[in-house]
Symmetry: C2
Subunit: 269 residues, 2 copies
């Protein structure tokens, strides 16, 4: 999720061209700054048994786990997100997990494919951040070239099968009027975490030091600002780490699936 300058040769490329470059092995890096008007997705691939549990987990926790698409078992396409997508090759870098242990970080997973694998693509805050920036709201972590600050909270998610764990949130400091506007804007995007889950006193959700995030980078919160907290896609990753499924493939951090969907197509109204 680190914000970096996009690779020059892909800076203005269309999603299908980016995917073709990734598929051909010519780009295995981050996707931050690529096709910025398009939706990028977090990827989770699970065998059918665990997939049923994970689907219920997402359904019960839609704010941290907003599902953009779920494949048929064994299917490698995701036509809703792009006609040409082959999920075995179109993510720049994957992580392969066996019983919760990271065992490989390949650039494609054709060799590992199985007929019982189900692919989940989850929305990510890049989409709503684009909408916030389009409205002129400055985001400090973007301005400072940092990862957004992420925190484990005392709010439990609703379990399903082996999946459970705390809600993880991102934090963005905003002045009150900007916070109110950000609530309005992100409410329009339920498929990419939607409205904040909390704002103001961090201790009320079990966060004791804003200067020490559990993931990502700290940013200052000034005296005239409120910390505003959104549900975060690290929540399902934490649930996966805890569940330790027999086999699992995810995207590597920052190397996400670039889809054909436009961010504004996710707007609810």
């Amino acid at each position: 999720m680190r914000r970096m300058s996009p690779p020059l040769h892909l800076a203005d490329a269309k999603p299908s061209h980016i995917r073709a470059e990734v598929r051909a092995g010519r780009w295995s890096g981050h996707t931050s700054g690529l096709a910025e008007r398009h939706v990028q997705g977090n990827v989770v691939i699970l065998p059918q048994g665990a997939a049923g549990d994970f689907l219920r987990y997402c359904q019960r926790n839609p704010k941290p786990c907003p599902l953009l698409a779920v494949s048929e078992p064994g299917a490698t396409g995701l036509p809703k997100l792009g006609a040409d997508i082959d999920i075995r090759s179109d993510v720049p870098r994957y992580r392969v997990w066996r019983r919760g242990e990271l065992v490989a970080e390949p650039t494609d997973v054709r060799e590992l494919w199985r007929d019982d694998l189900v692919t989940f693509v989850l929305g990510c805050s890049f989409s709503f951040e684009q909408a916030l920036r389009d409205e002129g709201l400055a985001l400090r972590h973007v301005d400072e070239g940092k990862n957004v600050a992420m925190f484990r909270t005392s709010i439990p998610t609703v379990p399903a099968g082996p999946f459970s764990g705390p809600l993880v949130v991102t934090m963005r400091p905003l002045r009150a009027a900007a916070a109110i506007r950000a609530i309005q804007i992100t409410s329009r995007f339920p498929d990419v975490h939607g409205a904040p889950v909390h704002l103001g006193d961090p201790a009320l959700i079990g966060i004791h030091d804003l200067a020490r995030p559990d993931y990502g980078d700290a940013v200052d919160v000034f005296a005239d600002e409120l910390p505003v907290f959104w549900a975060c896609g690290v929540t399902p990753q934490a649930a996966l780490a805890q569940a330790r499924p027999e086999f699992c493939i995810t995207h590597a951090p920052g190397a996400m699936l670039v889809t054909d969907l436009l961010n504004h197509q996710l707007a609810a109204f």
Copy 2:
């Protein structure tokens, strides 16, 4: 604006019946609790010269001065708000002002009517409070049978002619999740003050003691709550008091115009 039990014989009456009772002189009290699903309006009546300035003032300050209707000069009807309305008799109690001095509190103003008078009806927070309560959000001042707490802020309104002055706000204490939901709900109601203008630290908008409101009654703000501030219809009243127009008629506090509009008809989406 004090919340009181409605008079028994009008408790379930339709707006047109309430207006008929008021017009006949059989009810000259408050309208709180009457026809709760219907929009009630603040009333300001001004001679044509000052009316032009006041209209520009409302246009420039739509959050505190949301216009539901403006009459033709001299017209006594407001067909948009109710086919039978006669603004000279359908407000339970009026206040008559000459150069900013309160000179009378009659129950009708037929004797005072002039061909150059323009009527303004402004939305009021009763409508969005109904929407909040329908969602199960508890409002402390309602539960405690109090007036909502109102404060003059350091935020200036945009002047027009003789009309100017500070933004006046109402304050409702809410826990963070309820505050976020309240922002979503009230954003749907731009004609009755819309989204909050501030939340969190009151000092940032020039409010130094929440226990000492400028108007209305104080309520507790608990440690796990944020004070949430909405623009308030007392703002134009304060601007009128400051402008001291030659002649002006308003509703008496709490005795508002009951209209045929349903609160939910004001919802923007």
